[in-house]
Symmetry: C2
């Protein structure tokens, strides 16, 4: 017979290790990203731009699962650092066009070594990493289906 409080024990939670691992990995990134003058969230934003060159805030929002209340101040910081431009979209003045500066483009080469450094800090087998990856995206997909 289970104690009715069994579900409330910290060691029976799935969210807690998810949250802790996420915090842990971002802490591990910090010394690497400091060299690029980027925070973790700024780094994933730059990753999107290194693939796309130019994007609206709405598209960035759905790529990163973050909303304007997080992105707007973050983008302003990236402008201040000289990594991106922000312009109005000529065809829809509600919308903005985010694009890389030359400096932002250069930064990609300085960032090339970051993923490998991080992989060695996590220390999972390739098989475990793939399984983890798939399960995490499975959770994220439920999210998008439910229109969150």
């Amino acid at each position: 017979m289970e104690n009715k409080y069994e579900g409330l024990k910290l060691r029976n939670q799935l969210c807690f290790p998810l949250y802790s691992v996420s915090n842990l990995i971002i802490r591990r990134y910090k010394p690497l990203l400091d060299k690029l003058n980027l925070t973790y969230t700024q780094y994933i934003t730059m990753m999107v731009l290194w693939e796309r060159e130019s994007i609206s805030e709405k598209e960035l929002s759905s790529a990163l699962f973050l909303k304007s209340n997080t992105l707007t101040p973050l983008l302003r910081k990236l402008v201040n650092k000289g990594y991106i431009h922000i312009d109005k979209n000529i065809y829809d003045e509600r919308s903005i066009v985010i694009s890389l500066t030359e400096r932002g483009r250069q930064l990609k080469d300085e960032a090339v070594c970051v993923p490998a450094s991080m992989a060695s800090a996590i220390n999972l087998s390739a098989e475990e990493a793939v399984y983890l990856y798939n399960i995490l995206y499975k959770i994220l997909e439920v999210k998008s289906r439910k229109k969150y």
Copy 2:
């Protein structure tokens, strides 16, 4: 031959879905925890106390992988809400003793339904949940071995 930028693509990152899933689940908790007047971090703190009744900040810190700069203000909020007491440890005046108030103890019964509600929001099979759980703790253990 792989593009040297392959590792920099967002879809090749493991950290990004970890971070996004962690944010997502905490967002899902919010409406449930609002009813208890708790944030997610306050909730996991209360979980520790529901199991232990009394703990030092140092022990809490190592249970939650959070440091005093996060915990000190958070504990103050829980005091203001009437859920915990904070007293000096008589035997070591550097240290504090965190304990539940009667109201804090009652809250445990109001929280009993939260874990089941959350489990249904995540939507993994039991097998996937166990695998995910083990892999996450594997990552956290490396962390503690490395004395982070």
